[in-house]
């Protein structure tokens, strides 16, 4: 086995090194290091670019500065404990990761998730998608030099976080889903609060539209920048809203519906332009579609159980512990060992705010997953940065990074 030598690019702290001479123009390529501590790289992304003047000639993303060892750690936790880890991977769309993980575990177990639990999951996941897109707009436009929108989007995000706080007590990193349902039912007053939010939100979308979507400076800055054709995007494995901006209509909520998405009426917005502007606008339309889904799910909400009644999967209700010995035994077993899914390997694709997200679980019949592989969208979407940026100017790289919406926790795992 031959191990390739590490390239000098990977050495930390390399800023400007080997200056090569380009023969044709007698100009020099300059190697520039951006990040990992940089305000416009969305966290700890590091990009090494070779510049000819201001034109990007080569670009290599260097990642791993937030490597947390999720997959290794989840091999040492029970299936239920893993729910606390999955949402910290993509901290902006935590419910999406939770949902992807529990769907895989449920497929392994053949668990029957009650309808109400599925509806609540859809409501929370879609609200979280809106919250995630709001951060995308705020920080993305901030990277391009406009500060104001950030405060507006963060204002609406606070309202969504208030809803989450009602449900599970925390603003981020929820851990509210359980394998087989939810940890508990949604509180009284949640439906009214959610309705109040969705009745007011379309007005806010219009406000954003006047602030940046119809703003000449923004349109001029983003139109025709970082164009990715559909073939290119598929070649590089791009998924999610960024792929749909390149006119490929792939949305796993439509293609392979899960959690009852087939019951809701919504569209998949696409664009045929494939530039930075299209990637912004597709997400903008997606927020309105998410709102539609939430509204329908709230209408369809009926009282009922929120957990799989199978005692081998979900904890017994608290009041039963006082009267039933059997419940105590099941509770003890679940709280210490957890459940034991059968041997096998499963994968369930879902649509996160960033693209295709799925957990490939390998079970050896024990109480902990043998192998957890998260197919994270951000990592694979980041490859498209290179074709999007090549032969563009350096300042557009920042717009391109923002439009691909990488979350570094999702990239580095």
């Amino acid at each position: 086995m031959t191990i390739p030598k590490p390239s000098p690019l990977t050495q930390p702290g390399v800023t400007v090194s080997d200056i090569e001479t380009a023969s044709e123009f007698e100009t020099k390529l300059m190697r520039l290091n951006v990040g990992p501590q940089h305000p416009s790289t969305h966290g700890v992304l590091r990009v090494v670019v070779d510049l000819d003047g201001e034109t990007v000639k080569r670009l290599v993303p260097q990642i791993g500065y937030l490597h947390t060892g999720f997959e290794k750690t989840m091999e040492h936790r029970t299936y239920q404990q893993c729910v606390t880890y999955s949402n910290r991977m993509d901290y902006l769309h935590g419910f999406g990761h939770d949902l992807a993980y529990v769907l895989s575990a449920e497929k392994l177990l053949d668990a029957q998730v009650p309808v109400r639990a599925q509806q609540v999951r859809v409501i929370l996941t879609e609200l979280n998608r809106i919250a995630s897109h709001l951060v995308f707009f705020g920080t993305g436009i901030l990277d391009m030099g406009a500060l104001t929108l950030f405060f507006y989007t963060m204002r609406e995000r606070e309202q969504i976080l208030d809803l989450f706080e009602m449900v599970c007590g925390v603003r981020m990193n929820y851990g509210y889903f359980r394998v087989g349902g939810l940890s508990k039912d949604i509180p009284e007053g949640f439906v009214e609060a959610a309705r109040k939010f969705i009745s007011g939100f379309p007005k806010m979308i219009d406000q954003y539209a006047t602030m940046f979507a119809k703003n000449d400076i923004f349109v001029g800055r983003t139109t025709g920048v970082g164009v990715l054709t559909g073939e290119q995007a598929l070649d590089y494995g791009l998924t999610g809203p960024s792929l749909r901006a390149s006119d490929v209509s792939l949305d796993f909520r439509k293609a392979q519906p899960y959690s009852g998405y087939e019951n809701y009426d919504f569209d998949v917005p696409t664009s045929d332009k494939g530039d930075v502007n299209a990637r912004f606008m597709v997400r903008m339309e997606e927020m309105a579609e998410s709102l539609k889904i939430v509204e329908q799910a709230l209408d369809a909400l009926e009282p009922g159980p929120v957990k799989d009644p199978d005692r081998r999967i979900s904890l017994p209700p608290r009041q039963e512990l006082e009267t039933s010995m059997e419940a105590v035994i099941f509770h003890f077993k679940l709280a210490t060992e957890g459940f034991h899914p059968p041997r096998g390997e499963v994968y369930v694709p879902t649509e996160s705010a960033r693209g295709e997200l799925g957990y490939y679980l390998v079970s050896d019949g024990g109480s902990m997953p043998y192998r957890v592989k998260a197919r994270v969208p951000s990592l694979i979407n980041l490859q498209s940065l290179e074709p999007a940026c090549i032969d563009g100017v350096f300042a557009d790289m920042v717009a391109n990074i923002a439009s691909l919406d990488p979350v570094m926790g999702d990239v580095d795992k």
Partner: protein, 178 residues
């Protein structure tokens, strides 16, 4: 006693008791504590809550800390927001070294303070082993209010109103000597 002797005695008194300079030092510390500019060092989940703390609801600007500087050369306090991987640790130390003295560090969140739930090969278990931490803010992630409270605690420390576990007053940062 001649006038010169009297004057010399006054100067002696001033120098011994340091009235003038100690008051000036307090004034500097007061001013400094009310304009603690953080460096943007967002790592993970906590960075989002750090961003939220500057928004209209929580308004960190009330305490003079809303000016997040991208350059470490212009900042006074580093808020380590999120889990610090071993790959990132040398870079964080470098950013810290680039900050001008006097400088402070807030360790925000469980992961930065103790490794949190990530007890594994990849994560630094306490950022205090990389940079000296002044204030630890607990939570996963801490609410913006918690971060604002942490900044207020740091202001107390800068003003010399902080005490250690035994109740002994902690020394204030030297005004201009360093």
């Amino acid at each position: 006693m001649s006038l010169i002797d009297l004057f010399e005695k006054d100067v002696q008194e001033l120098e011994n008791e340091g009235i003038l300079f100690s008051s000036l030092e307090k004034l500097v510390a007061w001013g400094r504590s009310n304009s603690l500019w953080p460096a943007t060092f967002g790592l993970a989940c906590c960075a989002i809550e750090m961003m939220q703390s500057t928004n209209s609801r929580n308004d960190l600007a009330r305490f003079g800390s809303e000016v997040f500087r991208a350059s470490p050369r212009q900042s006074d306090v580093m808020i380590v927001a999120g889990r610090l991987s071993k790959k990132m640790a040398p870079i964080m130390r470098r950013v810290y070294d680039q900050m001008p003295d006097p400088k402070w560090v807030i360790s925000m969140g469980a992961c930065a303070s103790s490794g949190g739930m990530f007890n594994n090969y990849a994560i630094v278990q306490n950022v205090d082993s990389v940079v000296p931490v002044d204030v630890f803010v607990p939570g996963c992630p801490p609410r913006p209010e918690a971060l604002v409270y942490g900044v207020m605690q740091l202001q107390k420390k800068v003003r010399g109103q902080a005490f250690d576990q035994k109740g002994i007053e902690l020394p204030m940062v030297e005004g201009w000597k360093s």
